[in-house]
Amino acid sequence: MPKREDIRKILIIGSGPIVIGQACEFDYSGTQSCKALRDEGYTVVLVNSNPATIMTDPETADVTYIEPLTVEVLELIIEKERPQAILPTMGGQTALNLAVDLSEKGILEKYGVELIGAKLHAIKKAEDRELFKEAMVRIGLDVPKSAVVTSVRQGIEAVKEIGFPTILRPAFTLGGTGGGIAYNQEEYVELLDKGLKLSPVNQVLIEESVLGWKEYELEVMRDRKDNVVIVCSIENFDPMGVHTGDSITVAPAQTLTDREYQRMRDASIAIIREIGVDTGGSNIQFALNPADGRMTVIEMNPRVSRSSALASKATGFPIAKIAAKLAVGLTLDEIRNDITRETPASFEPALDYVVTKFPRFAFEKFPEADPVLTTQMKSVGEVMSIGRTFKESLQKSLRSLESGSYGLEPVEAPLDKIKMKLKIPGVERLWYIAQAMRAGMSVEEIGDYTKIDPWFLNHLKEIVGMEERIEVAGRAGVTPHLLREAKNAGFSDRRLSRLLGRDESEIRRLRKEQGIGPVYKMVDTCAAEFAAYTPYLYSTYERPFYTVGRGGVTPPLQPESEAAPTGRKKIVILGSGPNRIGQGIEFDYCCVHAVFALRELGFETIMVNCNPETVSTDYDTSDRLYFEPLTIEDVVNIIETERPVGVIVQFGGQTPLKLAVPLEREGIRILGTSPDSIDRAEDRRRFKQLLHKLDLKQPESDTAMSVQEAVDAARTIGYPVMVRPSYVLGGRAMEIVYDEDSIRGYMERAVKASPEHPILVDKYLNDAREVDVDAVSDGDDVVVGGVMEHIEEAGIHSGDSACSLPPYSLSEEITEEIKRQTRALAKELGVIGLMNVQFAVKKDEIYILEVNPRASRTIPFVSKATGVPLAKIAAKVMAGKTLKELGFTSERVISHVAVKEAVFPFDKFPGVDTILGPEMKSTGEVMGIDEDFGRAFAKAQASVNNRLPLSGKIVISIRDEDKPGICDVVKRLYAAGFSVIATKGTAAFLDGKGLPVEMINKVAEGRPHIVDLIKNKEIVFVINTVSGAQAQKDSFSIRRSALQYGVPYTTTVAGARAVVSAIEALRKKKVTIKPIQEYHRKG
């Protein structure tokens, strides 16, 4: 069927900021669908609030809106752009929910817009638990016993029928938010109450427990001629009970016979037809009772998903791209398989390897959070690895994680602790399983505790057994045979070095002497049945084959490798690995830009990464893709195969940066800023010398090896001071202390100081304004990309604070001086490429907090705000171009304002406080862009679902230090017609300043108190700042209840001030929209 001609313009809705449950997989799907639809000749309008995406690059869509994803804004866009259709299936649950809202509010009808991909009735049938269940029963499929309830009373009635344990799933929430398992009535009522509140439709599904059952997922595609294909089957290592996003999963399904697999396949086809997803991809989850094979349907997502991104990377079948083409009427047999070129997309990929996905968590950032894995997703990222066998694939995934693991390292634990760790699924369960095996527990016993299929456990046992053999052999000398067997089973050189008590480099040398090296195989969708043309590669260890004939035996050759490196000039770009807090999509964005830029210069681009969610691991992005762990071993192997002119490490965040020095030691050329310069910026002593040389200021600092030294240092520097261990990154375990008691407390509680692990004590500049600068340098010229002034004061992690470009309160002189210092630093450091500097400004004094001679998190934001593709320019500079040659010689001055705001996962972690501090906690970011600061800030707040009120009652409860600053805020709120209510101390202070306010109890002061007001929805905004652990504890329930009841809040006075500015701006003029392309139109 030809593509539809009645549609010319299509609106694609993105998924907004990165949150737990919705990460860069939707940038991948959105970018693919934009490309696919434009290739077919359609005009694509895109809206997404997340600037750190390739999809919001001005080149990706025809018209791009970086605007809040709200119904109001979408209506404005529809009104202006008049698309004929919306493709709502590319932007996760966010886009799907918006499509439902637009439809139900009559907006689609009003403007004559059609939903393509999935129609409203299909979305509702798939998403509404009751409708879905009815549909499944209609087609004869089994579903767990369940009931949909809309009140606690109803729920108590329903559970009598269903029994315990019971699974609760609130309708229409992200990543299973609010879901859980209740083992008793009390837990049940608590979870139910929470779930009802979290569900936007106040609906919770109560479900028969299928805990411990085997879990499967199938990725299904359907076209409008009703052709259906299954792209991939996935089997979960962790059985039902752990959210699939938090489970280790493998593809293809391993323990299903063909009969059982076909049953699941037939069911999937029946489901996609019954639900009525006209075209595109869906993800269907099944649970299977391991005792008797009973199969039940768990759920269906009528859209592309995290699993479909994984399936795309796992098979080479680009689901989102094809789904977009199907949505405009093409059929599967009309679309070509890019990889084989000859064959059509109407087929089912055949794998000849095993794919393992391993989740990555961030519990270390949220010590108060419960680290138990449940049906609510908690992981912040994931890795994927490919091996020929499960053992190899699994072991590769462990070292891809970058959590310090290189295999199944032992964990020291007594047997009862091990048993507990087996029973209660947590982050480290896999390692505890291996430890249980070392402790002599049998597969059956471990199976009883974990419910993990014995197939997986037996493989782990084989790995543990092989470790023992290696350790034993190590004493006498490991044989080439055993070494080969170990590499075959996926052992890293590092793990082998530990087992053999040698150095990693020694293992590498030993391996090379014996001719044991990796080969590269292709992911080709067809298990080599047809020739493939897309170099999408993974490493493995294989045995060679050889030829015999008349001339006798030809000696064994090298094993077959399909890498076939070209003779072109090439550059390797190292990616950023799994998403985690502090290192996310921003770095993938930079890596992708490096690829684009270097390709423009005629280089062959080679990407190495292991994150399946990303654009960088799309086989379409770089010339060659190595889906590999980012360890020194795996990277050196690739470089030895490819022989590039150099490697780029400065775009992927810490992951590749850590490899800079070891790579250089191997004689590999690092492009751009030298590792020595990087060291000069990172080493405290050398950095101090550098600043001294340039006559630049730094907050006073010292190093302490003991509690007493820390106390002395703090006294000399003067309180408050910021303390942190020297050996952790990303602000972990960093604290601001105001007195001697606190510093002693910190030293005892948080860290063990020692000569190897000194504690850093820095002067904390309270009330200072923090400024971020991104610049690019070619060694001679330095051009500033943008100066960003933070909203929150210095001391709050730069990744967590909102910021404005251009600065909204700094004087011209200060800004100019900051730029001058930036240029001086870049020149002195010999930066070639990107550099980020963090400044603090206190009373017109400028202090340098940090210099990072590499891509920073803010690069995509600056690029979107200014229209300058900084990462691309930097990549070209690193490849030898000068800024003059590139025509980028002066900073782009903008007349609009862009505000970045951070998004936090607090709603996923019950019990975690929402207070911000020096430790980064945000998962993603949004951008608000408009003509003035107030409206840009308001848009940013709307994008993080912190909708600013225009009238009503605002509650204020703040610490003493902040009180002087709040007067102005209250005055302006009164002027804007708000009423204000405050807790005792705050109220008394304001009263004293001639600002009478209503008074309300703190929670400890009796009722009604502040939390009651929040729960009764009498409050439209909460301003709450605290200092000190006790005060923080006392006011915790204020912030949690604001979060839970969706009341917008701020925890800083600076934030409050910005909010007031935004409210004032909003009251003056309504929000308008403007595409990013128009902001940056030249001339």
Partner: protein, 380 residues
């Protein structure tokens, strides 16, 4: 890791690995299969007589073997098995033993731990060819001499080796998943309304099961049964089954097919399809490395629908050679080869792929109903 084993191809290519299953030596045409599941069905499929099967998916034996998923009586029909890794610890609720033991019991030699992807690429480039697996002889040259001395499978009639000796009735339908709370597999039943005579050239049980499911009472005949003897039983239709080897060697079946057409509605599957092609005066040709797997898209030219099919054949019918006597009905979207035809005048149709699945997708099972409709149409 087991005993050392060698695989030597007729072109002199040698793969060193480890034996699994029975020890010894086996010779056959080496073909690769891209199905990720269904090894038990594949091993017991009589069409693999004379062939050594290599699986492109790397983990085999994961779910063991069971009593239900067999496609012929008397166990494994393939000559040997090549895998990357054979699993000794199967896991599945229906499993009654491991693949390794099963092969051992049945005397089937296997080799594992070789680069199966390299072998696939080799066969793709150089074509399917004879190979020998040995755990007994470690000398590649002597193995090469032996595999080259083998006459090959094209010249021999393999159907004789796998067909049934005596006619028999079959009344078992497709396996049924029983409904909860106690799901398990049960033998299907159906009330027969029509009689079908089945020529067994190496038939898979799933064809018989699907015939019962479509409402047929089934009688299976040995391959060499003369057409007259079948016609005497006055069936409503005749099915020509799948089977191994080169269709041109099965002259008696071609003869029988020629006599049956026009007298009874005929449905041919795989080898049966090729036999019909030859009986109608057409020619068949051999594919370079055949189609063996469960993911080939086949387009039904009448409906425009694409079905994902189960495939297992080395030969194709050149439909153009039939001079307009038949119409092409199905096409393989991978390589454009013929997948089905229909006689323009007579109630005769056939497909190259396997509508009975087992293993593979069930997208084409409706063809059995089409056969019934064809018969009922003729009767009216």
């Amino acid at each position: 890791m087991g005993i050392k084993a060698l695989l030597v191809l007729a072109d002199g290519t040698v793969f060193e690995g480890y034996g699994f299953g029975a020890e010894g030596e086996t010779t056959g045409e080496v073909v690769f299969n891209t199905s990720m599941t269904g090894y038990q069905e594949i091993l017991t499929d009589p069409s693999y007589k004379g062939q050594i099967v290599m699986m492109t998916y790397t983990q085999m034996g994961n779910y063991g073997i069971n009593e239900e998923d067999i496609e012929s009586a008397g166990g494994i029909k393939a000559e040997g098995f090549i895998v990357r890794e054979a699993c000794p610890f199967p896991s599945n609720w229906r499993s009654s033993g491991s693949l390794v033991e099963y092969m051992e019991r049945q005397g089937i030699v296997g080799i594992q731990d070789i680069d199966t992807r390299a072998l696939t690429r080799h066969l793709r480039t150089h074509g399917a060819q004879m190979g020998i697996i040995s755990t007994a002889d470690q000398d590649p040259l002597s193995l090469l001499a032996r595999v080259r001395a083998h006459p090959g499978i094209s010249s021999s009639d393999l159907v004789k080796e796998v067909t049934v000796a005596q006619p028999y009735a079959w009344n078992e339908g497709c396996w049924k998943w029983c409904s909860p709370p106690h799901p398990s597999l049960a033998r299907g039943e159906a009330e027969p309304v029509l009689k079908v005579a089945v020529y067994d050239f190496g038939i898979k049980f799933n064809i018989l099961r699907n015939l019962v499911e479509a409402g047929f009472g089934v009688t299976v005949f040995p391959a060499q049964t003369p057409a007259e003897a079948v016609l005497e039983t006055n069936p409503d239709g005749v099915l020509l089954s799948n089977g191994p080897g080169d269709p041109e060697t099965v002259t008696y079946a071609i003869e029988a097919a020629r006599k049956l057409m026009g007298k009874k509605p005929v449905f041919g599957i795989c080898l049966g399809h090729q036999i019909l092609g030859l009986a109608l005066g057409g020619r068949t040709y051999k594919l370079k490395f055949g189609h063996h797997g469960g993911n080939h898209p086949v387009k039904d030219l009448a409906t425009g629908r694409v079905e994902i099919t189960s495939q297992n054949h080395n030969y194709c019918v050149d439909v153009n050679s039939l001079g307009g006597k038949v119409a092409l009905t199905h096409v393989n979207l991978y390589d454009g080869t013929e997948e089905g035809m229909r006689h323009v005048d007579l109630p005769v149709f056939s497909v190259q792929h396997h509508p009975e699945a087992g293993p593979g997708p069930n997208d084409s099972t409706h063809l059995f109903r089409r056969f019934r409709e064809l018969i009922e149409g003729v009767a009216v």
